[in-house]
Symmetry: C2
Subunit: 224 residues, 2 copies
Amino acid sequence: MVRKTGTQRREDSLSRDRIIEASIELLDSSGEGGLTFRALSERLATGAGAIYWHVANKSDLLTAACDAVIARTITSCGVGERPAATIRALALGVFDAIDAHPWVGSALTQAPGQSPMVRILEPLGQQVRALGVPDDEQWAAVGTLLNYMLGVGGQNAANGQFGRARALDRTDFLDAVATAWSQLDAQEYPFTRSIAAALRSHDDRADFLAGIDLILRGITSPRR
Amino acid sequence: MVRKTGTQRREDSLSRDRIIEASIELLDSSGEGGLTFRALSERLATGAGAIYWHVANKSDLLTAACDAVIARTITSCGVGERPAATIRALALGVFDAIDAHPWVGSALTQAPGQSPMVRILEPLGQQVRALGVPDDEQWAAVGTLLNYMLGVGGQNAANGQFGRARALDRTDFLDAVATAWSQLDAQEYPFTRSIAAALRSHDDRADFLAGIDLILRGITSPRR
DNA sequence: ACCTGAACACCGTTCAAGT
DNA sequence: ACCTGAACACCGTTCAAGT
């Protein structure tokens, strides 16, 4: 492919892609608060204003970074033979991506109807169809799966943020919550108290999958 | 109850509660971005620093405002006779609260394990128990319901934010998303395209309830 | 066409000083 | 004990000016 002479670029010139890659690195290393036009322009050895030539604003940039991560995730998930298994694999792929990049969890929520969400919605919808769900029930099924995934993703991101703000790692954080829950009033909060202990040793990923399976059971079970 | 003389207060003196009430009003009228220590101190006719005597920081304030709204909501929901109906009423109560105060949707997500979440978690757990779900499956059931509610709440908040930033009302926003979806590639995005039209006329509240019912079906249907 | 970087209009938070 | 308000260290975004 030949560029018109005159639009020739230096090898290391700015581009939307380079900006997005640098943003992902910044977000991964410093959390949601780490993405700053100043930090970004320093990392890219350019002026803050230069970034605005390639990107509309911060929200656009965050969504684009999220989209890049989600695009890779979805591509690498592939399509299995059985719809339910494919949905599980897809959901786990998104979960793992959010686990590796907690900021994706909140970026996903902040981009309603945008590209990153559609990338997840589409294969989810195709598999729900393949499951044999009638047309008029497909949206409920897909919406439930998607919103559940967004909820877990958001919590994952919040846990990370919360811990980072208080300089706690995951274990310390869970420990703090478990302790607080176990000290709640016994009359008013019996259930919360009863699960406080289990919180310390629970497996986020397994719990997430249990939720997906529960929803899949709801989708395929007969309506009364 | 008699206060020690000397800690007597002017009728209109600052208090945590007054600050929280003013915050809720500010958030309701100006959205998530409207809660500012400057705006708040102006509304309360005080200095910005005064607020810090009653509140640890902005995150604490937002969570407290969210907690006040959720507390009222849960109280007014009441407990019905049948567990499933009570769970539905509870979920709808939270949905309506978030619909009336979209910022609650994102505040809820940002306070993992904190008081507002526990207020929802507890009655949900009690009703799941009442449903006869075995001990070792209760957490999965409650977690799925809760995360789904958080996901929907987050989307609701994001829709509002997104619309506000672009000065679109709900109809315009849905219309913009529906149009974008219907213009996606037919080969790659058949499902998303197929539901684009329905998006324009869908009922958030009914869809939300359909998801709750689907999950309830999953909870009560036999495991294989 | 693309980049620079100073300037603008904001933030949350702190803290010496007041009452 | 509670409040004041200036000051600090940041933000995102704009824009005249450069190449």
